[in-house]
Symmetry: C2
Subunit: 273 residues, 2 copies
């Protein structure tokens, strides 16, 4: 059996009882480590499970599916994912490859940022399409994601922005080499995201949605579900100066109108600079 | 401390390790039992926790917050919610009431249908606003939720439809009486939802989104995350004849275009009548 198990928000005790029981009886356990990150570290997990973990980076997941799946028709293999198993396309693809080989697949769900973001008090059914904000480079500065934010806003909806993560990204210089060299991990902060958004909005706002501006309300979240979780509510302009500390961060662009409970709940995190 | 703990998709082993540890050391444990349902029953939970559970129905949660919160400044009280704690507005309200009284609140997140729905292979970031389909009565037949489905469709997005649940609803006759009488629990099935949707669409489609019709692709899901989970992909018309068995059911209206992985994944659940 091939098990794909959500670890939840990233602390080792966020695994479900069902997930933990399965992990303990598996012959091989992979830990996916490039679409999100653990807050507790691999060693804490290994100690808690009493098992060695095999790190599955992007290369292994996208090109080494055979290696991951080998033997899972006759033995038990677990593939652990921070958040919920279906948070990233590559995991869906892995399940599909297993099924195509006649391997039985069992999924254990868990919390992901997509629902845990409700902790700021904004109602989950008032969110529109989720967007991802990528790191800009000098030559690649995509801005099409703001159209989705504008569109959600026009439909009276909030937008959850997932902020870019770069883990084990090869350096440009080593892309053509046999031996890849990797950049240090990078995680976009709410202030970087707010800065980038403001730049795009300033360029485009006159002709599009004038209501979204530097004074728009947004919510910065860090380490959701952890003991040191932080939530800040302020204007987009003020968010550019906010430091929420360690990753992971997420940013919400608040819709144009709030339910009284949403408003009261947000107020406890509100800062005015 | 007041703990609000997500139980996940409804089996007793879907609780997280963190959640279970907290429940075991609480003085009073409430089980919210009207916005969703357990698949395993209250007794299985009590046996697993080694604790008696107090059922919190709509009346208690909406009018008896004081009773729930009493003593949670000096002792530990847990409030258990199927899915994630922030799935329903009333839970957010309960957290707010606790905080307003100076009671410390700790949240333990878990999976909810909002992210677990990814199990059908449709990518979560390709979903628009979630809608709820209510039971119609003879005199109350709201249809405004289809506008949200149309809107998502025009934006190339899928729509998750949460189907109505009626648990401990007072009968109309007893509404004015002191002693309330309750209707038996009801859960909307995918076939009921598809029927209702088709009626609305047939009435309106000519002038609105002609692409959404009886031949539109939809996904019916039942008991997501359980061992007897079922997923069926077919046209909206065919869905009216599908019986997915026990609750809970959810319905997805598939957007106009699919990623190749989404298409391949859905195909394994596809039936053609």
């Amino acid at each position: 059996m091939f098990y794909i198990i959500g670890l939840g928000l990233g602390d080792y005790k966020d695994v479900t009882v069902k997930g933990l029981e399965i992990i303990k009886q598996c012959d091989r356990v992979y830990l996916e480590a490039y679409t999100s990150i653990l807050t507790c570290g691999k060693e804490a997990l290994e100690k808690f499970y009493g098992k060695d973990l095999i790190i599955a980076d992007r290369e292994l997941v996208e090109q080494g599916a055979d290696e991951i799946l080998v033997g899972s028709d006759s033995s038990n293999v677990a593939f652990l994912v921070v958040g919920d198993p279906f948070g990233a396309t590559t995991h869906t693809d892995l399940v599909l490859r297993a099924k195509n080989r006649g391997i039985k697949v069992h999924v254990v769900h868990n919390a992901s940022i997509l629902n845990a973001v409700g902790c700021c008090g904004l109602q989950l059914y008032m969110f529109g399409e989720t967007v991802s904000i990528p790191f800009w480079t000098e030559t690649w500065q995509p801005d099409s994601f703001v159209d989705k934010i504008f569109n959600n806003y026009r439909n009276q909806l909030h937008t959850l922005c997932l902020l870019d993560i770069k883990v084990k990204e090869p350096t440009i210089e080593s892309l053509t080499k046999k031996k890849k060299e990797y950049m240090p991990p990078r995680f976009m902060s709410v202030s970087e995201a707010a800065n980038q958004l403001l730049k795009i909005i300033e360029n485009r706002r006159v002709k599009e949605v004038p209501e979204i501006s530097s004074q728009s309300l947004c919510v910065g979240l860090a380490r959701v579900g952890m003991d040191d979780q932080k939530i800040i509510v302020c204007t987009l302009e003020d968010m550019t100066g906010i430091d929420l500390g360690r990753p992971l961060h997420s940013l919400i662009i608040v819709g144009p109108s709030l339910h009284p409970i949403e408003e009261e709940y947000l107020e406890q995190f509100r800062i005015r600079i």
